[in-house]
Protein backbone atom coordinates (compact mmCIF):
# COMPACT_ATOMS: atom_id res chain seq x y z
CA UNK A 1 0.00 0.00 0.00
CA UNK A 2 1.12 3.49 -0.86
CA UNK A 3 2.53 5.64 1.98
CA UNK A 4 0.63 8.83 2.74
CA UNK A 5 2.44 12.15 2.42
CA UNK A 6 1.39 15.46 3.95
CA UNK A 7 0.99 18.21 3.12
CA UNK A 8 0.25 17.81 -0.61
CA UNK A 9 1.72 21.24 -1.33
CA UNK A 10 3.53 23.99 0.53
CA UNK A 11 4.66 27.49 -0.45
CA UNK A 12 7.55 29.12 1.40
CA UNK A 13 9.59 32.29 1.30
CA UNK A 14 13.32 31.90 1.00
CA UNK A 15 14.82 31.25 4.43
CA UNK A 16 11.70 29.68 5.94
CA UNK A 17 11.50 26.12 7.25
CA UNK A 18 9.24 23.25 6.18
CA UNK A 19 8.37 19.74 7.32
CA UNK A 20 7.06 16.98 5.06
CA UNK A 21 5.57 13.87 6.63
CA UNK A 22 5.32 10.31 5.36
CA UNK A 23 3.34 7.57 7.08
CA UNK A 24 2.71 3.92 6.30
CA UNK A 25 0.23 1.29 7.42
CA UNK A 26 2.95 -1.37 7.13
CA UNK A 27 5.96 -2.19 9.28
CA UNK A 28 8.91 -0.48 7.62
CA UNK A 29 12.51 -1.55 7.08
CA UNK A 30 13.65 1.70 5.50
CA UNK A 31 12.46 5.01 4.11
CA UNK A 32 13.87 6.83 1.09
CA UNK A 33 13.50 10.53 0.21
CA UNK A 34 13.74 11.88 -3.36
CA UNK A 35 13.38 15.30 -4.96
CA UNK A 36 12.04 15.74 -8.49
CA UNK A 37 12.20 19.02 -10.38
CA UNK A 38 9.67 19.66 -13.13
CA UNK A 39 10.37 17.58 -16.22
CA UNK A 40 13.33 15.81 -14.64
CA UNK A 41 14.06 12.47 -13.01
CA UNK A 42 13.76 11.94 -9.24
CA UNK A 43 17.05 12.44 -7.41
CA UNK A 44 17.95 10.40 -4.33
CA UNK A 45 18.40 12.50 -1.18
CA UNK A 46 18.81 10.01 1.63
CA UNK A 47 17.82 6.66 3.08
CA UNK A 48 16.94 5.97 6.72
CA UNK A 49 17.43 2.45 7.95
CA UNK A 50 16.94 2.36 11.68
CA UNK A 51 14.19 3.46 14.03
CA UNK A 52 14.79 6.94 15.35
CA UNK A 53 17.62 7.52 12.93
CA UNK A 54 18.26 11.03 11.68
CA UNK A 55 20.27 11.98 8.65
CA UNK A 56 21.26 15.20 7.00
CA UNK A 57 22.01 16.45 3.52
CA UNK A 58 23.09 20.12 3.43
CA UNK A 59 20.22 21.86 5.29
CA UNK A 60 17.84 18.99 4.64
CA UNK A 61 17.48 16.33 7.32
CA UNK A 62 15.08 13.52 8.08
CA UNK A 63 13.95 11.30 10.91
CA UNK A 64 12.46 7.83 10.97
CA UNK A 65 10.23 6.57 13.77
CA UNK A 66 10.05 2.85 13.19
CA UNK A 67 7.43 2.24 15.88
CA UNK A 68 5.04 4.83 14.45
CA UNK A 69 5.91 3.81 10.85
CA UNK A 70 6.53 7.46 10.05
CA UNK A 71 9.27 9.59 8.59
CA UNK A 72 9.62 13.36 8.39
CA UNK A 73 11.77 15.48 6.08
CA UNK A 74 12.98 18.81 7.49
CA UNK A 75 14.03 21.64 5.19
CA UNK A 76 15.81 24.39 7.11
CA UNK A 77 16.38 27.94 5.84
CA UNK A 78 14.98 26.95 2.44
CA UNK A 79 16.68 28.08 -0.74
CA UNK A 80 15.16 28.68 -4.19
CA UNK A 81 16.90 25.49 -5.36
CA UNK A 82 14.81 23.43 -2.92
CA UNK A 83 11.69 23.90 -5.07
CA UNK A 84 10.36 20.66 -6.51
CA UNK A 85 8.25 17.67 -5.61
CA UNK A 86 9.44 15.53 -2.72
CA UNK A 87 8.62 11.84 -2.64
CA UNK A 88 9.05 9.39 0.17
CA UNK A 89 9.52 5.74 -0.70
CA UNK A 90 8.94 3.01 1.84
CA UNK A 91 10.45 -0.45 1.94
CA UNK A 92 8.34 -2.86 3.92
CA UNK A 93 9.88 -5.42 6.25
CA UNK A 94 7.04 -7.86 5.57
CA UNK A 95 5.29 -9.34 2.59
CA UNK A 96 6.57 -11.06 -0.51
CA UNK A 97 6.94 -7.98 -2.72
CA UNK A 98 9.77 -6.27 -0.89
CA UNK A 99 10.04 -3.30 -3.22
CA UNK A 100 10.03 0.43 -2.81
CA UNK A 101 6.56 1.99 -2.81
CA UNK A 102 6.32 5.74 -3.40
CA UNK A 103 3.96 8.29 -1.92
CA UNK A 104 2.07 10.70 -4.17
CA UNK A 105 4.49 13.54 -3.46
CA UNK A 106 4.61 16.97 -1.80
CA UNK A 107 5.04 19.96 -4.09
CA UNK A 108 7.35 22.53 -2.48
CA UNK A 109 7.61 26.04 -3.91
CA UNK A 110 10.18 28.47 -2.53
CA UNK A 111 9.59 32.11 -3.43
CA UNK A 112 12.19 34.90 -3.29
Amino acid sequence: QQPVQSPQAVILREGEDAVINCSSSKALYSVHWYRQKHGEAPVFLMILLKGGEQKGHEKISASFNEKKQQSSLYLTASQLSYSGTYFCGTFSSSGSARQLTFGSGTQLTVLP
Binding site: P42, I47, R98, G105
Partner: protein, 114 residues
Protein backbone atom coordinates in the same frame (compact mmCIF):
# COMPACT_ATOMS: atom_id res chain seq x y z
CA UNK B 1 30.04 8.04 -15.66
CA UNK B 2 26.72 7.99 -17.56
CA UNK B 3 24.60 6.35 -14.82
CA UNK B 4 21.21 5.20 -16.18
CA UNK B 5 20.49 5.99 -19.82
CA UNK B 6 17.03 5.79 -21.34
CA UNK B 7 16.00 6.04 -24.98
CA UNK B 8 13.99 7.48 -26.59
CA UNK B 9 13.18 10.64 -24.62
CA UNK B 10 9.86 11.19 -26.38
CA UNK B 11 7.59 8.98 -28.46
CA UNK B 12 4.10 9.14 -29.91
CA UNK B 13 2.44 5.80 -30.63
CA UNK B 14 -0.82 4.96 -32.32
CA UNK B 15 -3.27 2.64 -30.56
CA UNK B 16 -2.29 -0.97 -31.20
CA UNK B 17 1.35 -0.26 -32.08
CA UNK B 18 4.24 -1.79 -30.14
CA UNK B 19 7.56 -0.41 -29.01
CA UNK B 20 10.52 -1.07 -26.76
CA UNK B 21 11.85 1.42 -24.25
CA UNK B 22 15.56 0.98 -23.77
CA UNK B 23 17.41 1.25 -20.46
CA UNK B 24 21.08 0.68 -19.78
CA UNK B 25 23.25 1.35 -16.73
CA UNK B 26 27.02 1.38 -16.35
CA UNK B 27 27.26 1.19 -12.56
CA UNK B 28 27.27 -2.62 -12.34
CA UNK B 29 24.05 -2.51 -10.34
CA UNK B 30 22.28 -5.82 -9.82
CA UNK B 31 18.78 -4.43 -9.32
CA UNK B 32 16.86 -2.61 -12.04
CA UNK B 33 13.31 -1.25 -12.12
CA UNK B 34 10.70 0.23 -14.43
CA UNK B 35 8.27 2.81 -13.06
CA UNK B 36 5.54 4.84 -14.67
CA UNK B 37 4.49 8.28 -13.48
CA UNK B 38 1.14 9.76 -14.45
CA UNK B 39 0.65 13.55 -14.27
CA UNK B 40 0.70 14.84 -10.69
CA UNK B 41 1.10 11.34 -9.29
CA UNK B 42 3.76 9.21 -7.67
CA UNK B 43 5.70 6.40 -9.27
CA UNK B 44 4.14 2.99 -9.83
CA UNK B 45 6.36 -0.08 -10.20
CA UNK B 46 5.82 -2.02 -13.44
CA UNK B 47 8.55 -4.67 -13.37
CA UNK B 48 11.84 -5.21 -11.62
CA UNK B 49 14.88 -7.45 -11.91
CA UNK B 50 17.32 -8.64 -9.25
CA UNK B 51 19.92 -9.84 -11.75
CA UNK B 52 20.47 -11.08 -15.27
CA UNK B 53 17.82 -13.64 -16.21
CA UNK B 54 15.55 -12.83 -13.25
CA UNK B 55 12.51 -10.58 -13.53
CA UNK B 56 9.30 -10.15 -11.56
CA UNK B 57 6.08 -8.19 -11.72
CA UNK B 58 5.47 -5.01 -9.84
CA UNK B 59 2.22 -3.24 -9.04
CA UNK B 60 1.05 -2.45 -12.63
CA UNK B 61 2.53 -5.06 -15.06
CA UNK B 62 -0.45 -5.54 -17.42
CA UNK B 63 0.33 -4.57 -21.02
CA UNK B 64 4.12 -4.70 -20.52
CA UNK B 65 6.92 -7.22 -20.76
CA UNK B 66 10.58 -7.15 -19.78
CA UNK B 67 13.74 -9.15 -20.23
CA UNK B 68 17.17 -8.99 -18.61
CA UNK B 69 19.82 -10.81 -20.62
CA UNK B 70 22.75 -8.75 -19.26
CA UNK B 71 23.50 -6.84 -16.07
CA UNK B 72 23.55 -3.56 -18.00
CA UNK B 73 20.32 -3.68 -20.01
CA UNK B 74 16.68 -3.85 -18.97
CA UNK B 75 14.32 -3.08 -21.90
CA UNK B 76 10.57 -2.59 -21.43
CA UNK B 77 8.26 -3.82 -24.18
CA UNK B 78 4.79 -2.37 -24.80
CA UNK B 79 2.54 -4.61 -26.84
CA UNK B 80 -0.69 -3.27 -28.39
CA UNK B 81 -0.38 0.26 -26.99
CA UNK B 82 -3.48 1.76 -25.35
CA UNK B 83 -4.26 5.38 -24.34
CA UNK B 84 -4.03 4.28 -20.68
CA UNK B 85 -0.31 3.72 -21.24
CA UNK B 86 0.26 7.42 -21.88
CA UNK B 87 2.72 8.29 -19.14
CA UNK B 88 6.32 9.11 -18.29
CA UNK B 89 8.41 5.98 -17.86
CA UNK B 90 11.45 5.92 -15.60
CA UNK B 91 14.08 3.22 -15.41
CA UNK B 92 16.09 3.00 -12.19
CA UNK B 93 18.84 0.87 -10.71
CA UNK B 94 20.33 0.13 -7.31
CA UNK B 95 23.44 -1.70 -6.16
CA UNK B 96 21.43 -4.17 -4.11
CA UNK B 97 17.99 -4.29 -2.57
CA UNK B 98 16.23 -0.96 -2.19
CA UNK B 99 15.95 -1.71 1.48
CA UNK B 100 19.56 -0.64 1.90
CA UNK B 101 20.48 1.39 -1.17
CA UNK B 102 19.10 4.42 -2.94
CA UNK B 103 17.91 4.31 -6.52
CA UNK B 104 19.50 6.08 -9.49
CA UNK B 105 16.92 7.10 -12.07
CA UNK B 106 17.24 7.66 -15.80
CA UNK B 107 15.94 10.87 -17.37
CA UNK B 108 12.67 9.27 -18.47
CA UNK B 109 10.70 8.53 -21.65
CA UNK B 110 7.57 10.58 -22.27
CA UNK B 111 5.11 8.35 -24.16
CA UNK B 112 1.84 9.47 -25.70
CA UNK B 113 -0.61 6.95 -27.19
CA UNK B 114 -3.14 8.45 -29.60
Amino acid sequence: NAGVTQTPKFRILKIGQSMTLQCTQDMNHNYMYWYRQDPGMGLKLIYYSVGAGITDKGEVPNGYNVSRSTTEDFPLRLELAAPSQTSVYFCASSYESGGNYGYTFGSGTRLTVV
